[in-house]
Symmetry: C2
Subunit: 250 residues, 2 copies
Amino acid sequence: MNKLKDDILHLSQDCGNCPIRHRAVCARCDSDELERLDQIKYYRSFEAGQTVIWSGDRMEFVGSVVSGIASLTQTMEDGRTQMVGLLLPSDFVGRPGRESAAYDVVATTDLVMCCFRKKPFEQLMVDTPHVAQRLLEMTLDELDAAREWMLVLGRKTAREKIASLLSIIARRDASLKLQGMQGQLVFDLPLTREAMADYLGLTLETVSRQVSALKRDGVIQLEGKRHITIPDFARLLEEAGDDGDGGIMV
Amino acid sequence: MNKLKDDILHLSQDCGNCPIRHRAVCARCDSDELERLDQIKYYRSFEAGQTVIWSGDRMEFVGSVVSGIASLTQTMEDGRTQMVGLLLPSDFVGRPGRESAAYDVVATTDLVMCCFRKKPFEQLMVDTPHVAQRLLEMTLDELDAAREWMLVLGRKTAREKIASLLSIIARRDASLKLQGMQGQLVFDLPLTREAMADYLGLTLETVSRQVSALKRDGVIQLEGKRHITIPDFARLLEEAGDDGDGGIMV
DNA sequence: CGTAAGGTTGAAGTCTATCAACATTGGTGG
DNA sequence: CCACCAATGTTGATAGACTTCAACCTTACG
């Protein structure tokens, strides 16, 4: 495992077999458009913990998360950090038209990205409405998620924040596995306590305490530090302060 | 002033003279496209405090803020509320493709909106790339603003939050008046203490105390409750925890 | 002039941060 | 194979920031 993995993968992969084909920025493309994308794309993989892009760096590419999880974070001069985006498979990274990155992008787990060279991608945005339309749709979804997140950050208690985060992850995990929300949900947390704290505007100690409290109260079950079972999703939503179905639908 | 102002204005207004012509969703339209927009548009005005749309209501229109300020807010069952958007002239309201409103939209000041009937506007999004392109650009800007706001909500102290909000309003006000950020800045707060609290995830008492503290420390000057003078903008940015130019650029 | 809405200030209480010690886990090298 | 180390996580005690509850002030308006 000492091989440097931050490297361009020279495997050529067919878009037709791509696991995010129907959800990513290319979702609406016809075969001609896919062909053009194919010509400007390449894959890169990153190990957990690696930084994909530093805030302020020149962006050479935009792209999609194929597998794994990445996070967008902002850092203040004195070191306080806030996560401002959690990027899951099919999510888009980068802003067409912008020269330099506005946030740090970090691989939270091992990560594979499908990258597009930025200049040709921008041209493609102008030429093919399908890409621009899909990107608009995805950006509007992200804006909704950001706004839900603002309610969590501004008005929820620590306990509610943890419950909100767990419900979001549980929901996304269930949707990835194509299963419903009934019965008990089982998944692995993709975030460390510190990353959860950065997501929620808390300290890692408070995160640890509130996770323990939810476990003690039977809202969740914990095996090890990461493996989580949710016996009753409705109960978790109550703890999150969400009514019946008020959560993020992603 | 007892005339009900929540009414359709029957003044026909020419897009060519529109104060937000070059910044709103129609910014890139040519005269043909403008003509099509003109056919589906109407103006509505609202008094300060009036609700434009209730969360969950069916959306009959989307539109642009022409003058005044509107806010997007979310409310939890127990009444806790968080502002998730502050809409200034040229900002866009509504989401094409969505049936019902996701947030409460409230007129924070007297407000005039340019509304487009939703169905024809959605058709126009498909037909004319200029509208969709501009909306994408505006949505990306809003997403950036939301992420900056998340840092404020998650990691800043009450004092820093107030300073951040004042710097944002000062900046936008200066840009509206087409003046730079040098010299002293003078403006009127468009928000009540309660609205500021809802924006910042604080109580109105804390807002009042921190505004007083910034005044006591000479960071701002106050005349009455709303009229604000900022003698040294760089000082305000320091208080906000922003370095040199790290603020929102809107 | 009286009232209501918006705003200020004070005192007490609560929640979360901070500081610190300790536990657990996985990997590395002797 | 085991010991050690670093990274991650837990738990406790204390401190501090913000909220809550309450009284009071200011302003505009009918």
